[in-house]
Symmetry: C2
């Protein structure tokens, strides 16, 4: 008998943002696999084994999940946010491509989730309301020069931007350089949103003009959104609304 592998997105944190599709998959699973804080979000129950592992072991975790599925188990790999956006889905497919041929016969499904940039954008207004890009600012798996190149081209294209993994203890310098590149390429005071732990009790939201953005406003739980040249801020007593209009004048 062959099992099944589901790669599911838990959304940014709140249970109210987990889709019913994902909730049903978790209710049927025999094994849940993932990074420790994400597996903690899954309630234990009889018949379910939780396999929590540390950060930076994504490929080992993916192989373990594929192996258990090949043994006939109903495995769910959990990611925060959406599994296809800087998360576990690509790691599982890397492991699948390099793994034993029979793994390709497995029933594999990816279940989407609310990714951090969209949860953050919703809290801020609609800063990604027009063409935008999403960039992972970690240089663990790609050269830093490529990150800078993409930032410059994104500014030239006048995309709104969303940055994942802006800053960590092991990479304290990169985000400062990224902000310098953006300030030079944009040359204006467009809004920058620092959205931390959106939808959780630790949620913090902060909006500053690009010249005032500081590296220490972000950590690994923060997603950073940068407006396009047309992004607007509506000031209100209860806090600003930031949005990018649908139109670009000719």
């Amino acid at each position: 008998m062959t099992g099944a592998l589901i790669i599911a997105g838990l959304g940014p944190g709140a249970d109210a943002l987990v889709t019913p599709q994902v909730a049903q998959a978790l209710a049927r699973a025999t094994d849940v696999v993932g990074y420790i804080p994400y597996v903690k979000r899954v309630a234990p129950r009889a018949g379910l084994t939780l396999h929590a592992s540390d950060n930076r072991v994504e490929l080992e975790r993916a192989r373990h999940a594929l192996q258990m599925a090949a043994e006939g188990r109903e495995v769910v790999v959990v990611s925060s946010g959406d599994p296809g956006v800087f998360a576990m889905a690509a790691a599982v497919f890397e492991a699948l491509e390099d793994g034993p041929a029979p793994w390709r016969d497995l029933d594999i499904q990816v279940l989407p989730g609310i990714t951090a940039m969209l949860a953050a954008a919703a809290r801020a207004g609609a800063p990604l309301g027009h063409d935008f890009c999403a960039i992972n600012l970690s240089d663990n798996l790609k050269p830093w020069d490529l990150i800078e190149k993409r930032l410059r081209l994104a500014a030239e294209a006048d995309f709104a931007m969303a940055f994942y993994n802006p800053r960590s203890k092991s990479r304290p310098e990169g985000f400062a350089r990224a902000l310098d590149v953006l300030r030079a390429a944009c040359g204006d005071a467009r809004p920058v949103i620092f959205a931390r732990a959106v939808s959780t009790p630790e949620e913090e939201l902060r909006c500053v003009p690009l010249p005032e953005a500081r590296p220490e406003m972000a950590d690994m739980r923060t997603v950073v959104l940068v407006g396009s040249s047309l992004t607007r801020v509506i000031e209100r007593p209860q806090g600003p609304l930031v949005y990018t209009p649908r139109s670009v004048p000719a």
Copy 2:
């Protein structure tokens, strides 16, 4: 008494992809406002008035929703997908900024949803598994030249790409030009995914190499995903899996 305005994302089509947060907002609403096919997805009930309107009247719809909220009603504006991605949230904020000052005191919330590109990516594998951009290919509200410029810069940045509104009866030519620009800028056979009506009974998924992509493979219900230069296709008996690896070699 002041009402509230919620701008909610219904996801790509299936009820199993509507978040509990959005379902709760719909259960409490006095008025639901939106484009006809999206309002049709909301079940009628006593105490709820459904206000369905045609396409291309987004600003009028937004003003109507804000006005009803200002009159003390509990209004939900519904969008397909995520309201902040080429949908109603930006239109509401445009109307708010240009509208009467008291509208700024309203309690306004955006509730995120599963946007079409992420539902499509999940069905295909993980084609947006690394840095990517999202571009609306309609030139109704922006100059066509800007679209071509963004396509060229996105190719130069080696982003994976997602295209919304690739083609409609009133704009049959643009997508053909977009494909020509991409073929010239990319110069390779990277995979292109045409994902139509994902998660609905009309769902169709097709993956072709860029040189074989044809305009008529897309319509207004299609989201188009284009890989980066590193995107890979894993062939399997049950259909290919397309993914963009997490790493970029130095």
